[in-house]
Symmetry: C2
Subunit: 380 residues, 2 copies
């Protein structure tokens, strides 16, 4: 599989939903596979909250396999012998795109908290400019989970004629009060660390690692959910089972949280977590419309929603509301709820059940849908 | 209703579960009503995690009504014209009992984190000494919710012959991985505040108020639960509905969390929250036994369990496990699941449905139970 890593410099102004402007910006991306001569085999992959554009393989300079390496590659469900996969980092994200860590052209110093607020709609507008920049006229499919799923739905609302298949995994059309609360607390955990320095920690030699550790552990508690955590850890003690009656980690779940918290500040830029969290808090696809189905009115392709029975962030019954709105808008839509004990992260950590669903969705011709009359041949 | 506020000085050594000793200690308490001549109308009320002994009325020096004022008083379900209610602050708690804020006799300075770790069992051992100190030979009933419910069950295991009616509200026999995780994060939020000063903030003029605010907001997200929060706040914006696209609080849930977080450091001693949280983490009534029902083997009274359908901290199906263990131990036990949208705090904030259940349980004679043959008369 050929992997290319790039950063596109888009020299076109982007008016943000907040009213502020970005006169130019960069978007980092990776691609897997080759765009065919007909230009009809491109798939856009949108990443989730804490991920980035490195979705597959191990390109030069990337020691770790991508976050969805199980899904992307020759012969894998997102088959790079058939499809040209574009994995785009979001605007504001940590991965090389323009974000709070970038230099503010006005000051020559990193933006920090002077970076404008980004919405999911802004991310998608930027991705559409990237596609145009790359000469991709239309996508066969757009796929995303979690915050990536939010992006897929914004694509349906904003650029309904630029793609044919929409696949939304483990997402919602508007975040709940609980998710808003959680994302605020993640932000406050980071901001309360003195090393955060009002967001101007770049180059200071100090990063808000403690705040990031706390934010990450809190995130784990929420994304994983109660029942998933119970099945994995219950109240088992670590080591010999002898109780120590102290404050050092005593229970397995405590050790686990310490482990995931350690080094979390090195894995992702803390300000990016703050900005992407805020983008998710504002996400409500239905807000500009009289009813949710109006958001989908222009889309002429097919849709697939996948939820997980253990995902209490974006429960199946809330994803079914999206399905109903799609059907009401006349879109051939299907909603599959998969069983997993991995909660919200199941589409990454428990991929086996999703694999055939994804493969089938990308390959299957769609009668009545002009662009989806044939199965794409393998190039290899 | 006569209210007395006291602190009992217990000059008897207490061997803690950790192996450490407290040579003497103080327990703060309030009482409501009068102990009758027969000495058979005493009810012990055990408080929850963030509460204290101030359960009812407004005694001198207490500007706020107690946390269960709806339940306790003349003619109320816990009728002080019939019952003598002892509301005991727990060992280690914030309310005047010996705790991390007390002077360590060895150093003459507040214990801080040198205070020994306290367990729920230790709390109950201390309460039993308090009862003896006050001349209460036996209790008609012991009642408690949340961490107070943990205490009621430890009473059943440790002093099964000293009371006749056990009422456990919104509790569990062992905490879940998720509750352990949450309590760790509450501790870490406090400890990561530089003003915590390794627990030695007493008299320094600085308290970890920011950490306490974060810890309190975490707690709210978890105790309240997703569905309760959704019903109350959804993603409604505050004010005129105009989106501001910034980091100032924008959503109603954010304003609510700010409100509850503000001043939380003044309401309860941060170290007490740390110690009581650790006590809850260690709570597992079944740990010393082959099976849970063995913990109840000595009890000869009756039991009532009350759960709430919206309480995801201690769900009804887990409380039913306690009920089954009680029945297996031959104890007349009943489990009522009440409907509320207030989640874990329903027994305080949505008391109406619990009122008749509590009243009936305290009053009803129990055929076959030697101490419960008659309904207690009103003294007034």
């Amino acid at each position: 599989m050929e992997i290319t890593q790039h950063t596109a410099q888009i020299n076109q102004a982007l008016r943000l939903e907040s009213g502020r402007m970005l006169n130019q910006y960069a978007l980092a991306y990776e691609t897997y596979g080759q765009l065919n001569a007909a230009g009809d085999n491109a798939v856009l992959l949108c990443h989730g909250y804490t991920a980035n554009q490195h979705a597959a393989g191990r390109p030069v300079g990337r020691p770790k396999a991508g976050w969805w390496d199980v899904a992307i590659g020759p012969g894998k469900p997102m088959d790079t012998d058939r499809f040209f996969v574009l994995s785009s980092n979001v605007l504001g994200g940590a991965g090389g795109s323009t974000s709070a860590a970038s230099l503010d052209p006005k000051t020559g110093k990193p933006y920090g908290m002077n970076f404008p607020l980004i919405t999911i709609g802004d991310m998608v507008n930027a991705q559409a400019q990237l596609a145009s920049h790359l000469g991709i006229a239309r996508f066969h499919a757009i796929v995303g989970g979690c915050m990536g799923g939010f992006q897929v739905m914004e694509w349906m609302a904003r650029f309904p004629s630029l793609f044919d298949k929409a696949m939304v995994i483990a997402a919602t059309y508007r975040v709940s009060a609980h998710t808003i609360a959680l994302l605020s607390l993640i932000r406050e955990a980071i901001c309360s660390d003195p090393d955060w320095q009002n967001g101007d920690y770049y180059g200071s030699g100090r990063k808000p690692n403690q705040g990031m550790g706390l934010a990450t552990a809190f995130g784990i508690c929420i994304w994983m959910g109660r029942s998933v955590m119970e099945q994995r850890f219950a109240n088992r003690t670590h080591g010999d089972g002898q109780l120590r009656y102290g404050f050092a980690p005593e229970f397995e779940i405590e050790h686990f949280l310490h482990q995931v918290a350690a080094g979390s500040g090195e894995k992702i830029d803390p300000n990016a977590l703050i900005y992407l969290g805020r983008a998710m808090q504002y996400f409500d696809l239905s807000r500009p419309y009289r009813q949710l189905s109006d958001a989908f009115a222009g889309f002429r392709g097919v849709a697939l929603l996948v939820s997980y029975d253990s995902d209490w962030r974006y429960p199946a019954d809330e994803m079914e509301l999206i399905n109903q709105a799609l059907l009401a808008a006349g879109i051939p839509s299907r909603h599959a709820t998969l069983s997993s004990k991995f909660g919200h992260g199941a589409f990454i950590y428990d991929f086996a059940s999703l694999a055939p669903v994804l493969e089938d969705f990308l390959l299957r011709p769609v009668p009545g849908c002009p662009n989806l009359q044939r199965e794409l041949p393998r190039s290899a």
